[in-house]
């Protein structure tokens, strides 16, 4: 069992870290304070080939393995958690469905623009009454001649309205039982009848734009259907299987940033005549934080490696996301504790890491969903 990263993977880490420290970390605090979507960062991310890493070069991607993609996502998130979610929501949630389920015509039309980062994507599944119970969605897509008419609303859609391309899930057969009857569509931003609502103010990842979407008799051509009618739920779930590993990587980046800050602070903060890093209480906290992060990293990389080797990754991805997200919130909490009162102020970045960490336990499948997936596998 080889736990070493390849040279390419090591270079991905050091290069993306260099990029993140130069371009992302300097604006992370500001975009958080101002709730501002960092539009100016996207062309730079695209220039680094960071917006479609795992997709083949012939489709505009970088053709890297999934482990490299996770390493890059972790380093981006360590610099700025908001940029991390923009990256994964675009690369995995929005682009994977087209890559895996799109017709040749759809791939030709969208994939290159998306994998190269020229056009930004978004994934629209969640509805006000359908989160964990995704199949309970009430958005409809009724066939009418050579088009579908979409009606309904979506909520918490990352990257809207900056995204141009939306993967929208709606019921083509609203009366069908359970998870059947849902279909996936590719909807472009300026389609009449499709509008984006007010920005949502959140606890963390404040630079990430997550408004609601409204579809009012929004007509899309028949060839906007992605995959088959009734295949939508499967497309969503399979996409989220990979997406959750990405959230694991984002959580890793946040946790690592929090640990790095705590270590730096502990070495410098002098109380009772010595740095607090010399106190056992602090040392043990740091030991626990470092161990959890390392364990989380191994889970994330293992799940990613499974994708690279063609092994199943659904349960492994759920474990990675569950453990990494809970690690991130715990590590960020401890990081503030180590900072004492100063950690509660905006002068130090740890309060932002604390607020950013929480979302990783919630989106792309709450920890409860992950536990359902893992239990199902464990109880087989």
């Amino acid at each position: 069992m080889d736990f070493e990263l390849t040279d390419e993977q090591e270079l991905v880490r050091s290069t993306v870290r260099e990029f993140a420290e130069a371009e992302l970390a300097p604006v992370a605090g500001e975009i958080d304070r101002d709730h501002r979507f960092p539009e100016e960062v996207l062309p730079k991310m695209a220039g680094m080939n960071l917006m479609g890493m795992p997709y083949p070069e012939e489709y505009g991607g970088a053709g890297t393995d999934y482990v490299s993609y996770m390493i890059a996502l972790e380093e981006v998130s360590r610099g700025c958690a908001t940029t991390g979610v923009i990256m994964t929501a675009h690369t995995t949630l929005a682009t994977f469905p087209i890559y895996k389920f799109g017709s040749q015509a759809q791939k030709d039309k969208y994939l290159s623009d998306m994998a190269s980062g020229r056009r930004l994507g978004a994934f629209a599944l969640t509805e006000p009454a359908a989160g964990t119970d995704a199949a309970a969605g009430t958005c409809t897509a009724i066939r009418k001649d050579n088009s579908y008419v979409l009606n309904g609303s979506k909520i918490f859609i990352s990257n809207a309205p900056f995204a141009e391309i939306y993967i929208v899930f709606a019921k083509t057969d609203p009366d069908a039982q359970g998870t059947r009857g849902m279909s996936a569509f590719i909807v472009e931003r300026d389609t009449p009848g499709f509008s984006v609502g007010e920005a949502e103010h959140k606890l963390g990842i404040r630079g990430s734009s997550t408004p609601p979407l409204y579809f009012t008799n929004c007509q899309v051509p028949a060839d906007a259907l992605l995959g088959q009618e009734g295949q939508g739920f499967k497309i969503a779930m399979q996409t989220l299987d990979g997406g959750r590993i990405g959230i694991g990587a984002q959580a890793l980046g946040i946790a690592q940033a929090a640990l790095d800050a705590a270590v730096a602070y502990a070495k410098e903060r002098v109380q009772f005549g010595k740095p607090i890093a010399s106190l056992q209480a602090i040392q043990w906290m740091i030991a626990d934080m470092a161990t959890s992060i390392d364990a989380a990293r191994l889970l994330v990389y293992r799940a990613a490696s499974n994708i690279d080797h063609g092994f199943p990754y659904s349960t492994e991805g759920a474990m990675a996301k569950l453990f990494a997200s809970e690690t991130a919130t715990r590590v960020a909490d401890r990081a503030i504790q180590i900072h004492g009162g100063y950690g509660y102020t905006e002068s130090y970045p740890v309060e932002r890491h604390y607020r950013d960490a929480k979302i990783t336990e919630l989106y792309e499948g709450t920890s409860e969903v992950q536990r359902m997936v893992i239990a199902r596998a464990a109880l087989r």
Binding site: D7, E8, E10, L11, V12, S14, T15, E18, F19, A22, G47, M48, N49, L50, M53, E57, A62, G63, T64, S68, A72
Partner: protein
């Protein structure tokens, strides 16, 4: 046209620790491409693209400077190929010795029109390797170079001088040391990193090179930690900036700094 970029794979002293005995501990420092060398590679890349020249990276040093990772890190920045000399006898080698080995490599590559180097290395910061290298090759050297255009035989070189800048014309091969701000190097993208693994790397034995012998043998006979002024490390309370300012000025007046 053949352009050689001489780069260094080394660690940043910022990450090293020094014992009370003056011995430098590099164990926690991660080696990488010397901080200002990517500027040189970027300038060289621009000229190579404009003249359809081959861009060859050269590095010399102790074992470790030419690992696949180190070579790929350099190649990913835009080199076409790399030529590397790794030999532990070069551990602790001085600037003159390194320059002599680089000169031997340049001669071995043959028909090199131009050698470009960085301003200085992040660890030694001597600024002398390019100038001694030029002396060894019998070529002119120019430092603080900000831009290079033109063709071999008629290179136009912009460089900083005290009090301003100059544009020079150089009619033969030369060694140019770029200034640290000559350009902002691009960070290699993911595609560049993957492509680096496919570029040729040649390892040359030091013994196979014709390196002129040095007339001077250097032996380190002692080390010491330089005496540093003790600093107070006083952090002023800045919750009220006006008060902090008053407190600072008062303290400075008391110690006679104002």
């Amino acid at each position: 046209m053949k352009i050689v970029v001489a780069y260094k794979w080394t660690s940043d002293p910022e990450e090293a620790t020094v014992g009370a005995d003056g011995v430098v501990n590099w164990s926690r420092a991660r080696p990488g491409i010397s901080t200002y060398d990517p500027v040189a590679i970027e300038v060289a890349r621009g000229l190579a693209a404009a003249t359809s020249a081959e861009l060859i990276g050269v590095t010399v040093g102790a074992k470790g400077v030419g690992t696949p990772l180190a070579a790929k890190a350099a190649l990913s920045r835009g080199l076409d190929r790399a030529v590397i000399v790794e030999d532990d006898s070069l551990k602790g080698a001085g600037q003159a010795e390194l320059a002599a080995v680089v000169a031997a490599v340049v001669r071995r590559i043959g028909d090199v029109d131009l050698v470009i180097t960085g301003d200085s290395s992040v660890d030694v910061a001597a600024k002398m390797v390019p100038t001694v290298l030029a002396g060894e090759l019998g070529w002119p050297a120019v430092a603080e170079v900000t831009d290079v255009t033109g063709q071999p035989g008629a290179l136009r070189v912009g460089r900083a001088v005290p009090g301003g800048a100059q544009v020079l014309e150089i009619s033969g091969p030369a060694v140019l040391a770029t200034s640290a701000d000559a350009t902002t190097p691009h960070v290699p993208g993911m595609k560049d990193l993957l492509a680096a693994g496919k570029k040729p790397v040649e390892h040359v034995d030091l013994a196979a090179l014709d390196v002129p012998a040095s007339s001077a043998v250097m032996t380190i006979t002692g080390r010491a930690r330089p005496a540093r002024k003790e600093r107070k490390h006083q952090l002023l309370d800045t919750s009220d900036p006006a008060e902090a300012a008053a407190e600072l000025v008062k303290a400075l007046r008391e110690v006679g700094a104002l």
